[in-house]
């Protein structure tokens, strides 16, 4: 099974305190968690949604991933759910440049909306809040981890996803920043984008990279799922002394960390996003609280996992989740 992080039961204990603000009545809240499409990253949301329901006694929760990475389809899904009575939405917007329009529509109809796991592009966030990994910071951390793994010197290369996505642009910036801080000791080869569509594309790109530039590369930092899997595998089979830093904590990647094939991975906090997001949305929708500054952006945290902390990183993450609740409590004005 690939969803190896915490799992719902563990998190239930984390959340049982219900944070500093306790939801009075969640029974009118029907919560929908909507990822952009099917992706391993979101799988913890599914279980966490159920935990939200139990912990906060919500009217109903649902998890719907039928958006298929298409903003139009996702909008349809959202509208359908709204029509069926769901009134609090935690959404990962497919298109960061479009999602504000969707948020505005929902807000106009009186729903509570949270932007989860990704924030809208640009400086405005039309949702009530955004709880997401700061992708630039995460990429920065990943690059740092890579630089550390290669001993602070040499060439690294960054593999990532859809070039025409503002989050990708942020990731590229994050890596560049880390490289720039080494004052030229570490150099970065041209970024390889658009290889997250499917595993074989990623695999081929990695193999070609290793064949043509393998000797010059000391480290690979990946900020998308398929390239991460492919890079770990490709480097292992090429037997080149290249350090790979992956993303997320899919079972495959964790086993890579344990076996040493993957130097580090940067995990994010999907459970925290879904749990805290659900709690917040319920508070907002039940009109118990309002945001002091609507549209506030909060980093849900990113964690570098290496062989050393592979067994314990989840505790760190749970602590962060707790911290998030207190942090948000400050942003709320409640009755």
């Amino acid at each position: 099974d690939s969803t190896s992080d915490g799992g719902p039961k563990d998190d239930a204990s984390t959340g049982s305190s219900s944070g500093p603000v306790t939801l009075k009545d969640g029974s009118q809240v029907k919560l929908a968690l909507i990822p952009g499409g099917a992706h391993p990253y979101f799988q913890p949301w599914k279980a966490t949604a159920e935990v939200d329901k139990a912990d906060f006694k919500l009217g109903d929760v649902t998890f719907n991933e039928t958006g298929e990475w298409d903003q139009g389809k996702q909008n349809n899904v959202i509208n359908s759910l709204a029509a069926q009575g769901y009134n609090a939405f935690g959404i990962f917007g497919v298109s960061p440049t479009d999602i504000n329009s969707t948020f505005e529509d929902l807000k106009a109809k009186g729903f509570a909306v949270g932007s989860l796991a990704s924030c809208p592009a640009g400086d405005t966030n039309s949702a009530d809040f955004c709880l997401s990994t700061d992708v630039e910071a995460a990429a920065y951390k990943a690059a740092k981890a890579t630089i550390e793994a290669i001993g602070g010197e040499g060439a690294i290369v960054h593999l990532t996803g859809n070039n025409v996505d503002s989050n990708t642009q942020r990731r590229i910036a994050g890596v560049k920043k880390a490289v720039a801080e080494t004052n030229g000791k570490v150099t970065e080869l041209p970024v390889i984008t658009d290889i997250d569509k499917d595993l074989s594309t990623a695999q081929k790109a990695v193999a070609d990279l290793l064949a043509s530039k393998g000797k010059d590369i000391k480290g690979i930092v990946t900020t998308a799922y398929n390239p991460a899997v492919a890079a770990a595998d490709g480097v292992a089979s090429s037997k080149l002394p290249i350090k790979v830093v992956a993303i997320d904590d899919d079972a495959k990647i964790l086993s890579g960390i344990k076996s040493g094939g993957v130097a580090a991975t940067v995990t994010q906090n999907p459970v925290g996003q879904a749990y805290v997001g659900g709690w917040l949305l319920a508070l907002l929708q039940s009109k118990q609280c309002t945001m002091k500054t609507p549209g506030v952006v909060v980093d849900s945290g990113s964690f570098v996992v290496t062989k050393d902390n592979v067994d314990t990183y989840d505790d760190e993450r749970k602590a962060k989740t707790k911290e998030l609740e207190t942090e948000f409590a400050k942003q709320l004005s409640c009755q």
Binding site: N64, G72, N76, S95, I99, A108, N163, V164
Partner: protein, 375 residues
């Protein structure tokens, strides 16, 4: 108009051969459009009964109609090239290309909403005409040319976006765009009478497109010549139709409509980005073909395109509402599609069987006559 044939010859020609009758008109229930309409209505009723929310004006009907409108325009874009027996595999990418130009016009040149649209339509027309020109000049199959063009644009568009924008999207919204996205006919009033809040204003674009395309194909010389070209290029060429020009025009129309669909998508999702139109290809074929437009060319149906599009969109929406998860969604979609297509076939067969009794001569064997034989 003086007749070049004398009355004696006319007499001589008027032999006593029997009148050659066409095959008996197909019964009303075998008409594809009627079948589709029934199917759409029945399915809507079914979904409505299962989930009353299906008739929620703001949250279901409004976006549903907006989608139908947009995909109808997409279907019309394909229909224009189908009419000459061609295909346009680059519909989506043509939309992306035109919207890129529109986006530039908004972002860099600060155009108004409609002048930007106009620039996009021109760009779409131009790229479509280019495809048509290559096809007409080389005689290479349209499938190949538009596939290659698709690859080309697929490569080119992201390069432009990354070099021109920060977020890989043009986010400047000219005034009016937001309103266009959300306004319905309820916002259009004549005196005290306002339209329905369930009908999006965007749908007007589709209505205009349908009217214009319908007019062209039903009433004008251009439309007829396109259909004749689709029926048989060689006969068309030898009848004095400038087929090369018609090919270019059909593709240009396709590009123009693709641009319009791209605009509708951009307005309804929010921004102009490189991935616009990525999901256009399949619906572009489904709508017209379910509606009875021939892949081989020579016959188009505008209403059929609307109905075909409506059918697929309604099914998807219904499944959404029924809460069908991703594990089953595509399976059901595919199965319903196959079933819808097969019932159409069954209807045709049944009506053929009815015709056996009558004494009219048979229809000519279709192009692929080989497959039509007895065994």
């Amino acid at each position: 108009m003086s007749a070049p044939v004398s009355s004696t010859a006319t007499e001589a020609l008027r032999e006593d051969t029997p009148v050659e009758k066409p095959p008996r008109g197909t019964p009303w229930w075998a008409n594809q459009r009627v079948g589709l309409l029934l199917l759409v209505v029945l399915l809507s009723a079914l979904f409505g009964v299962l989930r009353p929310a299906f008739f929620n004006q703001q949250l279901v009907v409004f976006p549903l109609l907006r989608d139908i409108a947009m995909f109808t325009v997409v279907g019309l874009a394909q229909l224009c090239v189908l009419s000459i027996g061609h295909m346009n595999l680059a519909v989506g990418r043509m939309a992306a290309f035109s919207m890129m130009i529109t986006g530039i016009s908004y972002d860099l040149w600060h155009f108004t909403l409609y002048s930007g649209l106009l620039v996009g339509l021109v760009a779409g027309t131009a790229i479509g005409a280019l495809a048509g020109w290559v096809i007409a000049r080389t005689g290479v199959n349209s499938f190949v040319v538009t596939l290659a063009l698709d690859f080309l644009l697929l490569g080119m568009i992201p390069l432009v976006y990354t070099s021109l924008t920060e977020n890989a999207a043009f986010v400047t919204k000219p005034p009016g765009m937001r309103e266009l996205r959300n306004f319905s006919l309820a916002d259009v009033c004549i005196g005290n009478v306002c339209g329905s809040p369930a009908v999006p204003q965007l749908a007007i674009f589709a209505v205009i497109a349908m009217a214009v395309v319908g007019w062209i194909y039903a009433r004008t010389r251009l439309g007829r010549e396109l259909l004749m070209t689709g029926s048989s290029v060689r006969a068309a060429e030898l009848s004095g139709i400038p087929t090369a020009r018609r090919v270019i025009i059909a593709h240009a129309m396709s590009g123009c409509l693709a641009a319009l669909a791209g605009f509708m998508l951009a307005v309804s999702t929010g921004s102009i980005k490189a991935t616009i139109g990525e999901e256009f290809m399949l619906p572009s074929f489904l709508g017209p073909i379910l509606g009875g437009t021939l892949l081989a060319g020579g016959f188009v149906s505008i209403w059929g395109t609307l109905l075909g599009t409506a059918l697929t969109t309604v099914i998807r929406k219904g499944l959404d509402l029924l809460g069908v998860g991703l594990e089953s969604l595509n399976i059901y979609l595919g199965l319903i599609l196959l079933a819808a297509l097969s019932t159409d076939r069954i209807r045709t067969l049944l009506s053929d069987r009815q015709a056996v009794a009558s004494s009219s001569p048979p229809p000519p064997p279709k192009a692929a006559g080989s497959q039509e034989g007895e065994r």
